[in-house]
Symmetry: C2
Subunit: 347 residues, 2 copies
């Protein structure tokens, strides 16, 4: 469980990251006021009333992990704040583009950016926000970070961005394919979602130690955690408690999302069950009876236990990497608690 003192530690980091992001935003020259209008909207910023910022600014998972890794290693996290801000800008660039492509009309309980400014301008703003992320990480040059470390942090981030884009391409490609294996799906979410989380931890580490093995350990911790998080999210999309997750438990099936449990179903079902799955997923829309049929088949092939065990394996793998760092201090404990917090809605 995460107590109030831990919550306070997390909240302090989130506030520092938000302040860093806002400082970076204020330092930029305005060329297109429309761009900054959308940026301010995305983060809920009112430059005249910074108190408004917190309400819609997101969980900041990546900067939080980065800061905790940095502090566990070096005792401080102030030196990674420009990089933390960079990853949060980067994450929002991917959200803005994804919302356009998924036709998602809501983001953080408000209309998604594209619903106000149109899809093309939202694409442009996303492009600009990626550039802003790069501008942000370059500010490490100004806080006494050795230039080699700045370049390494930038290289890690860029490689992760490339893999994230490839993961997104796989994700859209899978939508058009008849069959996707659970393993292919893990490859996709690893790249689309987990590499940026991995990069966050690696950058936090690389800015705090010269021990490459330690950087890699923290990176794997975060990557496995990211994969576990996504698989568990898929689990909740089928068997979740609606009151807890805030969305209809079966909505992922109704929307024909090829999430992990469904892919396990396709892989393990045989005979009539496979034929039924194929027929149902060839339909444009699913009836309540179809959804019941899918759930029955998933039950027969034991998709619950399989999905749960995959998520649990990655989560355990993440904690093992954390232990293997050999670092023991109160921030390392916080890091473990934050990992638990991210998945506490399940275990």
């Amino acid at each position: 469980m995460v107590g109030s003192s831990q919550q306070e530690s997390f909240a302090r980091i989130v506030a520092d990251v938000a302040a860093e992001m806002l400082a970076i935003r204020r330092d930029q020259t305005t060329i297109a006021s429309l761009f900054w209008e959308v940026v301010d909207y995305q983060f809920g910023w009112d430059l005249d009333d910074p108190a408004e910022t917190q309400r819609v600014s997101g969980k900041k998972i990546r900067p939080l992990l980065m800061a905790l890794v940095a502090q566990a290693i070096s005792g401080d996290y102030q030196h990674v704040l420009p990089a933390g801000a960079a990853l949060e800008f980067l994450h929002n660039f991917t959200l803005i583009h994804d919302d356009v492509m998924d036709n998602s009309v809501e983001r953080r309980h408000r209309p998604a950016a594209w619903t106000h400014w149109g899809k093309y301008q939202a694409i442009n703003v996303g492009d600009g926000m990626y550039a802003l992320a790069n501008v942000a990480i370059a500010r490490l040059l100004e806080n006494a970070t050795p230039p080699r470390k700045v370049a390494l942090a930038f290289r890690i981030m860029s490689q992760a961005c490339l893999w994230t884009a490839e993961g997104q391409i796989l994700d859209m490609d899978f939508e058009t394919r008849d069959r996707v294996s659970p393993d292919e799906y893990i490859t996709m979410i690893t790249n689309k979602s987990a590499t940026l989380i991995e990069a966050a931890a690696q950058i936090g580490a690389v800015l705090s130690t010269d021990d490459d093995a330690l950087v890699e350990r923290y990176g794997r911790f975060a990557r496995y955690l990211g994969i576990a998080f996504q698989v568990r999210d898929d689990y909740l999309g089928v068997w979740g408690d609606e009151a807890q997750t805030g969305k209809s438990a079966t909505s992922d099936i109704r929307e024909k999302k090829k999430s992990y449990p469904v892919l396990v179903g396709f892989q393990r079902a045989a005979g009539d069950d496979l034929a039924i799955l194929q027929r149902i997923y060839a339909q444009d829309e699913l009836t309540d009876d179809d959804i019941d049929s899918v759930l029955s088949i998933l039950e027969r092939v034991d998709a619950v236990a399989h999905t749960d065990s995959i998520a649990h394996d990655y989560y355990t793998g993440a904690l093992n990497e954390l232990d293997a760092t050999g670092i023991n201090n109160s921030t390392q404990d916080l890091l473990r608690q934050y990992a638990e917090f991210l998945i506490q809605r399940w275990y």
Copy 2:
């Protein structure tokens, strides 16, 4: 005039940049084969037959300027090749996204990427290509470039990308506005088009000298050249020689492009002429008579001379900056000849 020995020098640099780009592409891990399929298509690469590369690979204006600046200062350009490759990837990222938004079906005399793979996957590929540009410039770390210089080059590129995105946002915003002043238009093209050209020259310089003033000089040379190039392109879009430019001279007017000459027309026209312009540009489509009317009005307000003089002023400004570097050698001569080559279709 550009002679054959100069052409050979330019071709050698272009070939070296193409080879560097291909080497970077070959070194990447394939996550989504679809991504690399589109990348290879964009550059006309056949990995089994590298000779195919040249045919569709573009003029490489930015890497060429970068390499020439580097060689003028330091006598060599091999050390900037990763950055040159980066700017070419970056330029192609902007082309892929722009073609989506402009509904441009052709690029380099072939179908634009989005016509094959759809608009959303083209957006994803563009995002990935921006990441690839960043991965490319990070390779400076591996060719003995001092890390501080790597970080500076990266910072210059990132700032230019942000301004490029803002310029693109202005451009799309102008399409929805009734009035845009010629000055606003210059701000837009400076950011949308000239900043990446400026960044190319600055990076070529910063990787070759510690003299900040020299870096700025070469940057201004390239920026003014970029603006001159764009304004002259607008000139040719209205009064160009169809045989020379390969597109109908009046196509920009038919498409109601708010290019520089037209904005001068709106600014300078009065009374009946202004009313006619406003009426014509409020129409969905323009007749041949409408085009004749616009051309007559542009003639009456002397838009030809005004557009020409603006382009010429920036071009002269560019050459003055080049002279002010105080550098005199055969590569500096080549740089001047390349500037002339870029605009030789006019003066």
